[in-house]
Symmetry: C2
Subunit: 431 residues, 2 copies
């Protein structure tokens, strides 16, 4: 049986996961493809570091990228290094050498994706990236193939397991953010430096990739509004719960009369939505197509085996094409140049809001706030004022009807400046 040989860029968690699956499911793979798959070489920084998986005597570790990409026996390069420059160089070299590439690198695709798709096209090779977005959830393939004939009205995604785990712990156990983060780090669900995860950047990278898949347009990463979860408090989680919501770190994109509105924010989701009940470090994506209606995909977003599974699916997809002597459609849009998205200015976005004001317990406060709201056209759906007056002030929570961001921001600016305001207004969108 013919053997397809892989050159891995990097051999850490995901590389070891891939190697384990190739070993564990070798018979299934051979049955499906009539081919064997072997890792022939892996590019690493430290040749002497102990590895989680022993690739065996026939495989080589190298610290030289050219050795990897110029090997005529290697058909597919699997980029698992992460980061920007080294990964980009490796991929471009692989293309120039006529090799297909599978990557898990959402950051690279968000920053340099257009250049990479162009280079892949010019060299007539495949660039596959299911593992870059929520590893265990086949969202890239679903958008590219299964929903190819739909128009995506909107997409909501929980795409970072670390952030979701932290929020779940805060929700189910009433922990504050710092305790939940430390907990997550102890369990290996959060990195020593968790910035990319908790600040929402990782989610924004993935959103950028998925917007291209769903709409065939590029919403530049630097234009995506991003807010992380560090400002979420147990008090907000409790108030949200009382109103019938859960707080999740959500990526969202929606088509508003031909313009795209997108962002990454902690947001309130109705408890009745299945996506509100996604717990722990699971991921989920809920989207609505104008034909298929609402669809939700749920699974593990990270980990050696789930991510390795996505990488393997892409490798097998490439092999099916290689057997027939053709190249896949990398972008799902016939390899056409991806044009820039028509972006709805964020200030024009409309949404329901959750506002938590912290105010001094004084006559006239509610009147002043509601007057400011009325002035700016912000309409109140629900309101609650609770708790005893203390030095910290009294929380006043308001849920609004659909409100324009511009008006919400203007109202907050006005109220935050009022002399009874003890702390700035905390604002979350309701999606």
């Amino acid at each position: 049986m013919d053997v397809i040989k892989l050159g891995l860029g990097g051999f850490g968690t995901v590389g070891s996961g891939l190697a384990k699956i190739l070993d564990m499911n070798a018979d299934r793979i051979a049955k499906r493809l009539d081919r064997k798959i072997e890792i022939k070489s892996a590019l690493v920084r430290d040749l002497n570091k102990k590895r989680a998986f022993d690739l065996g005597p026939n495989a080589t570790l190298t610290d030289n990228p050219d050795e990897l990409v110029n090997d005529p026996e290697v058909d597919i390069i699997v980029e698992l290094m992460g980061g920007l420059d080294t990964a980009r160089d490796l991929i471009l070299k692989a293309f120039a050498a006529g090799k297909h590439v599978v990557t898990a690198n959402k950051h690279l695709l968000a920053e340099h994706g257009l250049e990479l798709f162009q280079a892949a096209r010019e060299n007539n090779v495949g660039l596959m990236f299911e593992a870059s977005c929520a590893g265990g959830i086949p969202i890239v393939q679903t958008l590219k193939e299964s929903l190819a004939g739909d128009k995506v009205n909107n997409m909501l995604g929980i795409m970072n397991g670390t952030a979701n785990y932290i929020l779940s712990e805060m929700t189910t156990k009433g922990m504050d953010f710092n305790t939940a983060l430390a907990d997550a780090q102890d369990l290996g669900y959060a990195e020593a430096d968790p910035t990319f995860d908790i600040e929402g950047f990782d989610t924004a990278h993935k959103l950028c990739v998925l917007i291209r898949m769903a709409y065939g347009v590029d919403y530049p990463l630097e234009d995506i509004p991003v807010q992380g979860i560090t400002g979420v408090t147990p008090m907000d989680i409790q108030f949200a719960r009382e109103f019938g919501y859960r707080i999740k770190l959500l990526a969202h994109v929606m088509d508003v009369d031909g313009q795209l509105e997108a962002g990454v924010h902690p947001a309130l989701v109705p408890y009745t939505y299945l996506i509100a009940r996604v717990g722990g470090n699971y991921n989920a994506i809920r989207l609505t197509g104008n034909a298929v209606g609402p669809v939700m995909l749920h699974g593990q977003g990270a980990g050696d085996l789930p991510t390795g599974s996505a990488v393997l699916a892409d490798i097998m997809h490439l092999i099916r094409h290689m057997k027939q002597g053709v190249t896949p459609d990398n972008t799902g849009f016939d390899g056409l140049a991806i044009e820039k998205a028509k972006i709805l200015p964020p200030e024009e976005s409309e949404s329901k809001y959750y506002f938590r004001f912290t105010v001094a317990d004084r006559t006239g406060v509610m009147a002043a706030i509601t007057k400011s709201m009325a002035t700016h056209g912000v309409s109140i759906a629900q309101a609650v004022q609770k708790g005893e007056a203390g030095a910290e002030g009294v929380p006043l929570v308001i849920i609004t009807h659909e409100t324009r961001a511009k008006d919400a921001n203007a109202m907050i600016e006005e109220v935050d400046a009022m002399d009874f305001t003890v702390e700035p207004c905390v604002k979350f969108r309701i999606l």
Copy 2:
């Protein structure tokens, strides 16, 4: 721009749905494929019947299958007629004429799938069928491509919207079965003759198709144990709820040491599983792969637009292949002949059970029942006896640990024959 022309077999609900989407999303389709798609002709029984969608002056309605399949301008035949003989004949004629086929016909695939895959292979044409299983959920594509490198440990599916709607109404509103069925029929969620849906046959057809996709083996339809929902009562739903379960009509398959266990039954699912909360006429499939871990897909299972969306995705998949001059892998197993499944004898399957005995309120009943259980190795996890004695007898509900079906059946036979038994034991598996 080149035009791909379709010949539809049937022009009812799904055909109209497809036509609507082709119209609604024409620009998106053209952007993705650099092709237009048109329905050129449709095979119908009654040329004069009023149709939900006007195909326009360039399309033809015909009642002659040969006219449809022999038209050299038509590249793809879309079989939407349902049923067995006429649909099978049409598809085989289409293959012989060198045309690709897209079908939504789960019954035909379950009964004659192997023959059709063989014929497609011999004629080197595509046979696609995403719409046959839970229309709005991309399960076929997911199993074929995204989870190609995984071994599927088990799959649970709610795949019939009618049955799920009825059970949801019974669960949320306490209705009895007949009332819920009548309700569903009024709303158009159930057919005038709902047999295929409520007896589980429709679900069994889909399970048969999905087992092939997941395992590459054929589990013959006639060997799949099938039990419908007509025996589910509000009392069982209430007891199940108290124990922390919901009752759903579930298709299930699991790999038990290389043998497959499969069936369609009403079953209890833990409330904590997302699949337990699938309501209304939605469908969901939850599966576990040995690499990807647990994955759940959720969406609409039927309807003109969701099913039309799946049909369109298959058409576009075929067009992508046609543009490159190749044929898709129809079975996901390199077109190899699909061997017969190694089937675990149903009596050997192990599962937790819910038993509801209806017994006379008399001394010694509990002792006799528990003695019978002990004799047959059935171990009790939870038990409750409730209600006042009436002429109808007292309900006694027992939840067991993992039990072999053979032992459960023997125990029930023994207890049902005892003189205190007022009604036969009601038995549901817990999955």
